[in-house]
Symmetry: C2
Subunit: 352 residues, 2 copies
DNA sequence: TTGAAAGCGCTAACAA
DNA sequence: TTGTTAGCGCTTTCAA
């Protein structure tokens, strides 16, 4: 019995507080707080004393208290809605790494599949309890004006991924989808393809439309008419690619190449085509978009556009970190990453 | 200028506090707090009044304040170290969903690749600042005794995935890897395979050893000697599978089938074998373990063991939720999921 | 069944 | 450059 109570007692140790650090260092709590927050107005010798005390006691500030008193919680949110698994994975890994380096924590909010359509009030409910320093919104949440409005009213700084609103009420990190899709299409044409299938992503994603625009722009430039019978609508999932493969290959004159708007769908097309006995790439070339892990995990590996997801995530974290800092001037920040890179692998060759 | 200041002011709206709810309802803060925490000692009529006030004001409790005053933060941690992408993805999706349903938030801690080896002190540093209700540890963190000890000293309740320590100082959710691997191996043997390659996962993962044990047990049962030249060491990544494919197929008498300890490695083997021109499954059967997304995303699709990752994650969240509740009796909880299911797809057939 | 008081650990605003 | 005071929004403890 006594033992049992012991174990309960041990369960909740009293952590060191700022007060104890102050005593140990022989200064006031405020001075410790200043050292903690790296403020300038501390004499070097005092700072060293305080730092020594912190190290000696192995003190860790309580984020909750900090947040209550000050406002900064060191908590960054990342919200998404039905992302493709490989996009999400790339996003997470990079955001997490950056948070770790900057001493922040990432709180994930998966808003997928909430009773059919997206329920913005539920999101607001969840987000208003927890005090986030900022929120990273993945597409298609990043262009949901209702949500953006609510978040603004709540005073949560937002960084939108792959969407920039014209009024600039929130920050953004974007990529030139039009140019990237244009370049990829030119590569397909250069290889000799003329009948090119295009798998569009969900229309809620601005990127879907932009990638399509880039595709069509390249066709036009080379005098190839846009053939509506070669345009298909997917939803960024592997399964949608798989299903569209049949639909596309059942037509009277199938394309010699397919450009899917993301890697997951491209992988689906690849699996579907191979299931029907087609040789990739000799009988059908396939290219994707994103260069996520799945692009190199299937055989033949996908030729694809490298979307700088990692850089985008890192920039998003940096922006929130910047906004949270004392030196922020109130202006929203915008970053556009414009290095376009095509990763050539085995899934693309000249048509027979 | 005025406009600029306006926008800053709007940026930080004053959220409703418990005090205002109390006034609105004509009761004390304490009564509101009791209603919030679903305590029994509140008269029905008062409770209704308070709930009406909460709804009217659209009040949301401040988690930070709650945590400071009480201890419960509604924050659950999920930590991992170099997981396979598809395992991580499955884990996250399920844990996130359960957290959402239970009103918790998930804080992700990616401990991968921290300066070579795992730096437990850094983890402790990060975790002692944020006040987590509990921490879910994915393998191989879940069997790191050093880490487990530190966490216990910090008073953070832990749920270990795929590992149960004998002293039961923390909770756990596990799966019978031995039996599952045994069953899969029997299927391979039933199909007629005798020379079966085995790709073991990293030895830091108890599951790796258990899967190997199940594999060898099944061989023994059927009188097939364990051939060391058919045993290979992977690290759960796609790339390790890819590399081992060459190594394995370059041997004098290659196996007719391969059992990889997870799907990512199986996919790597598949890609590597196909790159060498091998037909899957006619010239080489491949089976995996986990039934993660990648198993169905490659062609031919993988026959694999379904590891109930989703159920395990959900159980882990439930356990922390339970431990956090006022009614917890102090005992660690343990769950073992024993439904073993083999998912048969195209990657396995009888040998030629 | 309800309320009053105290304080969780920290920082903002002011004073020295 | 440093310290003092007053809370942040909530729950605990104790009293009514």
């Amino acid at each position: 019995m006594a033992q049992w109570m012991d174990s309960i007692a041990v369960n909740k140790p009293q952590p060191i507080t700022i007060k104890e650090v102050a005593e140990e260092a022989g200064v006031s709590q405020m001075t410790v707080s200043r050292v903690l927050n790296k403020q300038k107005l501390v004499k070097e010798s005092t700072r060293l004393k305080v730092e020594a005390a912190i190290a000696a006691l192995n003190y860790r500030p309580n984020l909750m208290a900090r947040s209550l008193a000050g406002g900064k919680s060191k908590l960054i949110g990342l919200a998404y809605y039905n992302p493709s698994p490989s996009y999400l994975s790339a996003l997470l890994v990079s955001a997490l790494k950056r948070c770790r380096d900057l001493g922040h924590h990432l709180v994930i909010e998966d808003l997928s599949d909430i009773e059919g359509d997206l329920d913005t009030s539920l999101i607001v409910k969840r987000l208003s309890s927890i005090r986030l320093n900022g929120l990273i919104l993945a597409p298609p949440l990043s262009n949901n004006l209702t949500l953006l409005g609510l978040l603004k009213d709540m005073g949560i700084p937002v960084v939108a991924l792959s969407f920039r609103d014209e009024e600039s009420v929130h920050s953004s990190v974007a990529f030139d989808d039009v140019a990237a899709a244009f370049e990829m299409t030119e590569l397909l044409i250069a290889k000799g393809h003329r009948r090119i299938g295009f798998i569009r992503g969900p229309v809620e994603h601005p990127s879907s439309l932009q990638r399509q625009a880039g595709f069509e722009k390249a066709l036009e430039k080379h005098g190839i008419p846009v053939d509506q019978s070669l345009m298909f609508q997917g939803d960024f999932t592997f399964v949608s690619g798989l299903e569209l493969a049949s639909k596309m290959l059942d037509t009277a004159s199938p394309p010699t190449a397919v450009f899917a708007s993301n890697d997951d769908m491209a992988a689906g097309i690849s699996a579907g085509a191979q299931r029907r006995g087609l040789k990739i790439p000799s009988e059908l070339s396939i290219v994707g978009f994103d260069d996520t892990a799945i692009a190199a995990a299937i055989w033949p590996r996908l030729t694809t556009v490298r979307q700088p997801i990692a850089e985008m995530a890192q920039n998003a974290v940096d922006i929130i970190s910047e906004i949270t800092s004392r030196t922020w001037n109130g202006e929203q920040l915008h970053v556009t990453i414009d290095a376009i890179e095509i990763v050539e692998r085995e899934s693309l060759t000249a048509p027979k």
